[in-house]
Symmetry: C2
Subunit: 423 residues, 2 copies
């Protein structure tokens, strides 16, 4: 995880011992006890000999300068214009399950707009008894709910359809984030307006110039969709839709409309641009799969990965990654060191929540030989994350969306990691 | 929660209707349906007519400028020097349970020091079979665990012992934050060094000039204490102890040593400055309670509160706050509108985790008359948060630590809120 250069002179005995133990998988905790007294015990951490920064030197704390590489990044050639583009979460350098807003990927179709709470309005209209326009303060008077959910762009991993193209876990799989949201259940606002019996769909649009309109079946709208104000405790950042965005747990990120402006109630889907020419899955025969809303179970090893190589040589190694499913909870994650021939079950670390990122770990004793690392997620419905080839067999090669195929990293003997494809 | 001025011309019908319903507590969702067609329905949110910001305009996203008041703040007269001081989380403006690192309170005794991962060392010595010094990279090779925990300064609310002194929920109760941590269980590092039978205490100290040393019984050290690298997904911020701090769930924040430098194993407590002349509770008879590590169950209403007055007049009102216990999970939170005469049970919103902040909500229909707001937490052990007077009766008036007494806010008819004391 660290880009710091390791100081060879201070490598501890326990790591050398573990490495000497050879290929057997042993825990770091038991590996070191055989080592003798350490001649380097005198090299301890110096105490600071002067004061550090006072409190409130900055009004809002930023990451320390040593972590300046842990930022979201874009890929310039990927889109024609930076105002209709995307950047990527540095998932190779993060741990746990929460994604800080400051480095969480963002996608917008016409730039991130600035909208004050005082100016904000949300309209509910169409097939309702009483069309309504809410101010921000109106929304704050409704009962609130909480949900922690992953938001994944439908195109996450899309560059991998035709074979590995981008180096780095951040760029191949970083169109995802996971936050704790607080807001008003959309159901309460729809009930306030009074949905008429023929109102079976909603159409949601943003206040940005693109509007990014999407249709959502009423059943989902009445289920777990949130009109969210807060993410990870504080107000949404501008680029995440301040002051109000839609949270649509388990469904593709494009439907999580930012700067939410209107919820129209209709008797059918609108079939907008964003759900016909875009965000549909073009099959080999030229037809398109549409309404592919749910993000299927997926996982990725975040470290080691191309941006997070192994710098410490053989011995105890922490393999970690993320797993998620739009259908519910992750039930199990398996990890393979040999390209899918043998699998071992990883440990799920911390809370396992429905439709949210789950962290997994596997502790191994690396013998220093090359590894073909893969992970596969199994969700509570029993669905098993497929290989890329299994997906291609069904969907062909035209598609860029909904690639939840197994990601492969080639770990070389020198610890460097490359994005590769294994049949 | 918002400081924006409400535009009176766009107040919706549902709020007026709810207010007209009088003092009965009704949900916002049912209150508005009686209202007629709204003449203001044409005042909708304009679409943006130009592009917003491109992606990656900033490498690390910051809060939007409209939220510049949501920052941690200090109180200059509270401490002699800003390098041995504290600031406060803006809990009046946050929601949910996660505290972003950027606005999470921080306390340090000799300033926040800058320590790189490459330079970092952690020593374990004393009554161990094999003294060890770990580099940061060594620590990253041990199996990791996750915990979400509140960190509360023992002095949180301490200014309230002698009666209400500070206006603002942030200043009276804001010495608290709640994050998701990832790190190595301290137990694994102690086992690596081999604790000798007579080693019944550890002594932990930081690398800052103050060292801030504290003794912890071995039983706790071997239980749920974490040597943490990550908070809310990313590296610890400098002021939160980068690169490594101790996480001691449920125990007072002073023991969560930052810039962790050494864990010494001893046969007895060290009785350091920070656990004798400081961080002990001076009783009325001049004796001091010591080893008061656990933070007892507590709660506070964060909105409405002095910094978060009611601007929208009578009608539907969301009352929200935080509850926590160092002994386990929160079982129930009660809210009183009349200074503790009558109580109603609040809703616990989102996950209820052991030794972590729990969010509660109570939705009422405010009749516009004054309220004496209180909340009281009950934890899973059955412990009930006491009144301040109940605490004073037992502990006298000399103490500033471990004030978990019930906080009272006086809500005036104009919606302004004051910090008051109710016997």
């Amino acid at each position: 995880m660290s880009d710091d250069t390791h100081k060879g002179t201070t490598r501890r005995g326990f790591l050398g011992t573990a490495a000497a133990a050879g290929g057997a998988v042993v825990g770091a905790a038991t590996a070191a006890r055989a080592a003798g007294p350490d001649p380097l015990i005198t090299e301890v951490q110096d105490w600071a000999s002067s004061f550090g920064d006072p409190v409130d030197a900055t009004p809002y704390g930023m990451p320390i300068r040593f972590e300046s590489h842990v930022v979201r990044r874009n890929v310039e050639w990927l889109t024609e214009s930076p105002v209709s583009s995307i950047n990527f979460t540095p998932i190779h350098a993060l741990e746990g399950t929460i994604t800080p807003q400051g480095c969480a990927f963002e996608r917008h179709h016409s730039g991130a707009i600035e909208l004050s709470k005082a100016d904000y309005r949300l309209m509910i209209n169409g097939l309702v008894d009483k069309p309504l326009v809410f101010t921000y303060e109106d929304l704050m008077r409704f009962p609130r709910a909480s949900t922690t959910a992953f938001c994944e762009c439908a195109a996450n991993g899309g560059m991998e359809w035709g074979g590995a193209q981008l180096e780095g876990c951040q760029f191949t799989q970083g169109m995802i984030h996971n936050m704790e949201y607080i807001g008003v259940p959309l159901r309460l606002l729809l009930e306030e307006a009074g949905v008429q019996p023929e109102g079976t769909w909603i159409y949601v649009e943003g206040a940005d110039a693109s509007s990014n309109g999407r249709s959502i079946p009423m059943e989902k709208a009445m289920d777990d969709v949130l009109v969210a104000f807060y993410a990870n405790g504080e107000a949404l950042r501008k680029e995440h839709g301040y002051p109000v965005r839609l949270v649509v747990p388990g469904w593709e990120g494009n439907m999580w409309v930012k700067w939410l402006r209107r919820v129209g109630v209709y008797h059918a889907a609108v079939e907008s641009r964003e759900e016909t020419s875009k965000y549909t899955d073009l099959m080999a025969d030229g037809t398109a799969r549409k309404w592919t809303w749910v993000m299927d179970a997926k996982s990725v090893i975040t470290s080691p990965s191309p941006q997070a190589p192994i710098r410490h040589g053989k011995g105890p190694l922490v393999i970690t990654g993320l797993a998620w499913s739009g259908h519910g909870k992750i039930a199990r994650v398996d990890v393979s060191l040999d390209g899918g021939v043998n699998w071992q079950e990883a440990r799920l670390t911390g809370d396992v929540k429905s439709k949210a990122l789950t962290r997994f770990h596997l502790d191994i004793d690396w013998d220093g030989s090359e590894m073909i690392l893969q992970s596969r997620a199994i969700d509570e419905t029993g669905y098993v994350q497929p290989t890329k080839d299994e997906l291609r067999e069904i969907r062909g090669l035209n598609n860029v969306y909904h690639n939840n195929g197994i990601q492969t990293w080639w770990v070389r003997e020198d610890g460097e990691v490359e994005n590769v494809e294994v049949g």
